[in-house]
């Protein structure tokens, strides 16, 4: 059921774990319509005790609007409560501009790619 819903929703999340780091790959379009599902899927993973840090890999994220900013800020609060760090990598130009406008880069670090983001966390975790 969930899979079917996802197929219609034009946004897929792939969730990976690496030590205490949760890596979420977003694939497709993140807008008001898809935000609730992404939010739920990420929260189910974040809530696990083993998770401390979060990397969002936006390589396959073709589109995002301000609904995505809400999703990112909400997840940031959860990770912050766990004293973890949240990182974003592989954003396209428009998404980077959108996040810049929202001031999110003051609290969330960005990296060119997933391995750079991972290495930065391995130093601190």
């Amino acid at each position: 059921m969930k899979k079917e819903l996802n197929a219609q929703m034009s946004l897929h999340t792939t969730i990976k774990h690496y030590r205490n780091i949760l890596i979420v790959e977003l694939n497709g379009e993140l807008d008001h319509h898809t935000a609730d599902t992404v939010r739920q899927e990420m929260d189910e993973a974040i809530i696990k005790a083993s998770v401390k840090h979060l990397i969002i890999n936006a390589k396959q994220l073709e589109f995002m609007d301000s609904s995505g900013i809400g999703v990112i800020l909400g997840r940031y609060k959860l990770i912050k409560a766990k004293q973890g760090k949240m990182l974003i990598c592989n954003m396209n130009e428009t998404i980077a501009k959108l996040l810049e406008l929202s001031g999110i880069f003051k609290i969330i670090d960005t990296y060119e790619n997933e391995s750079d983001a991972l290495s930065s966390l391995e130093v601190i975790s």
């Binding site: 807008d31 008001h32 319509h33 589109f63 609007d65 301000s66 609904s67 501009k97 959108l98 406008l101």
Partner: protein, 147 residues
């Protein structure tokens, strides 16, 4: 002077946020915009349509949103209109981070993003009557020739 226009009316359903931005992108594609120009316009359209659905109509899918696009040479004008509840204080609504839904994980960035991603931006709203936003953006990359 070369002009072209279209108008679509659709249900205020969140599925149609994607439909609306794809429709605009398809309509202006012949102007040959860059990927970034197209993405910025799609983002602005998405913000405006989302506002109609969430704020104008409070998720009442029986209501309708109107999307009108016109092209004059390389200038694209997009007008997105609802007949919803209207905005009480437009100046306040345009403030970055202002949101009427602080608990709903809404960023309060919709108008700021629209204004940043287009060249001209106007909002008209009347309480109980509805809201209309008009955005203009010139496609600088266009190599379409007009005569």
């Amino acid at each position: 002077m070369s002009s072209n226009d279209m108008k679509i009316v659709f249900s205020a359903r969140s599925e149609n946020e994607k439909f609306a931005r794809m429709a605009v992108a398809s309509f202006i594609a012949y102007l040959d915009p860059t990927v970034e120009e197209l993405n910025e316009i799609k983002t602005a359209v998405s913000e405006a349509v989302t506002n109609c659905i969430i704020h104008g109509y409070n998720h009442d899918a029986s209501k309708q949103v109107e999307l009108a696009v016109s092209i004059e040479d390389t200038m694209v004008t997009i007008q997105i209109t609802d007949e919803g509840k209207g905005i009480e204080d437009i100046e306040l609504a345009r403030e970055p981070l202002f949101t009427t839904m602080p608990d709903g994980e809404r960023a309060g960035m919709g108008f700021t993003i629209m204004e940043s991603f287009v060249d001209g931006f106007e909002v008209e709203s009347e309480l109980g009557k509805g809201t209309s936003v008009r955005m203009r953006r010139r496609i600088l990359s266009s190599n379409v020739l007009f005569n």
